[in-house]
Symmetry: C2
Subunit: 320 residues, 2 copies
């Protein structure tokens, strides 16, 4: 039940020989969520050895090619691999037309149902909610309609101190109420406070994805208190003007959002190909906000309350 | 002025960790022609170190995703790299709509003009012709409208035997007529036959691309006498029935076309991912037609009248 993010692509604009454009896979409460889908995402999913048939929900932030040109290929591969599980895609209005036009032209009807859910970029909204998690979209400021996405675990029930419960001879039929936080009252009227017979559940984790966007203070409001914030940082401070022109952010601006949002950790990405040394992004951001990492492709980021554990997925398998 | 084919992708249906779907780059008379454009083609172009800004004509055989899902990304990258040279795309009718819809949604107008030329799949037609070469499309038989493409050099002028011309004191102003094949008449009326003062030009080379298609005898007619024929062979003979059902060819069927067409060489490709040992395709085809090679990705095939020279482009650079 770990909370993990796999970075599949961290480059902006166009793929290069070695880099892929934006895509990430989030594992939350055993569900797989794909966030953006640049060209070649299906290849990166294979290379990361993720069982990508487990993806049932895809989130597309906006319709610039580096965030969705790999989607039609992935959907097509799902079909060719015989998928039958329904798939839901959250994204801007025109996405459905673009995808369906290509399937229609190819004379293909997917082997599985696809449901397109239109996001709207002017106000935050809850787009998917279960007992276990809540997923929202929130407005970003870019050249075209763009949303970020926030993934929040819900608090789990308290867990029983089984040893102490046995000592007190608490009957099993009372467990349910105790896990809900109720005190226990024995037959002879003694009240045992809940916190004496239960342990705190792990604190819920959360992740927010903010790409593409220029720096706006509102972003911090939408992602307040998340455990991990991914914020685009297309440029370093040397290209602040270019960032403004193109409605992107610098590493320091991303760090400012993380600080204002009191996010526990910041992950930078969407790097312009003009930078050879990507560590520069991390260095600059850390001036503003210390708990910063830069996204590396085919790296796994395990999110905990104590920090982020980073693992290189390339190291565990044969590469191309 | 060599005649070379670079195989960028040779897999069918879906890309895998290590393989790309159909795309090829043909160099003919110093022009670069891109044939089909599966997902990730721009990455393969970069990895092959081809100056892909030199591509001015793109040919799309049909609108199954493994033949064109990389096109919109490539066109987008041309734009982001500031291309201004016009580009012509030959392909089925709906291609223009699919591409333009995506650009419109992104609010992007390319920095260079694109001209879409509609191919038609029922009869062969010349689609591009200059003094130096001729390019035609020809019908194939697949599940949706599909054409092959034939690239033919035109005969060059005869080249002058300079040494002998000097000996005869032939004035420079007569060179042009001699290169056109005319005899030379000296001032005192002596006729020197053209073949005594010129050399034969190199014989024109030609390439035909036939994918996707089931085996049909007509294909041989369209590609008669080409120096190199690429014919899809999605399956080996063990899957002949599957080939028929899906309107694809086996390696032996591809070889039969090469034999009937009296092609000098055959290149196989579009391999189904179910085959681990791709040499099997070559082995089976050679039973019917000896001059057979199987396409390998990031390999360069230099076409000459004497045969095909094969070079591994991966060997000359750092890989991912």
């Amino acid at each position: 039940m770990s909370f993990e993010l796999v970075v599949l692509g961290a480059a902006s604009a166009t793929p290069t020989s070695n880099n892929y454009t934006t895509s990430q896979l989030l594992k939350m409460r055993e569900h797989y969520f794909l966030i953006d889908c640049g060209e070649g995402t299906q290849k990166q999913l294979r290379r990361s050895r993720i069982k990508f048939s487990k993806i049932n929900n895809i989130f597309i932030s906006h319709l610039h090619g580096d965030h969705f040109f790999g989607l039609v290929g992935l959907l097509s591969s799902f079909h060719l691999l015989g998928r039958t599980t329904p798939l839901t895609i959250f994204g801007p209005p025109k996405l459905k037309d673009i995808i369906l036009m290509q399937f229609r032209t190819a004379g293909t009807f997917t082997s599985y149902p696809i449901s397109f859910k239109v996001t709207q970029h002017k106000v935050p909204q809850v787009i998917l909610e279960t007992d276990s998690y809540k997923i929202s979209s929130f407005p970003l400021k870019h050249r075209i309609a763009t949303t970020g996405f926030k993934f929040q675990e819900k608090a789990q029930k308290r867990s029983l101190n089984k040893e102490y419960a046995d000592k007190l001879n608490i009957p099993i039929c009372d467990y349910h109420r105790i896990k809900d936080g109720k005190d226990w009252i024995s037959d002879n009227g003694i009240i045992i406070p809940n916190n004496q017979i239960t342990f705190d559940p792990p604190e819920p984790l959360s992740y927010a994805f903010a790409s593409d966007t220029r720096y706006v203070p509102e972003t911090a409001k939408y992602v307040q208190g998340v455990t991990l914030l991914y914020h685009e940082s297309t440029f370093c401070e040397d290209k602040l003007e270019r960032a403004k022109q193109t409605m992107h952010s610098t590493a320091m601006e991303a760090a400012r959002v993380a600080k204002e949002a009191q996010a526990s950790n910041l992950l930078l990405g969407h790097f312009s190909a003009r930078y050879r040394n990507l560590d520069q992004f991390e260095t600059e951001a850390k001036v503003v906000y210390q708990n910063t990492l830069r996204a590396k492709e085919l790296y796994n980021y395990k999110v905990t309350q104590k920090g982020i554990k980073v693992k290189n997925l390339r190291a565990i398998k044969n590469e191309e």
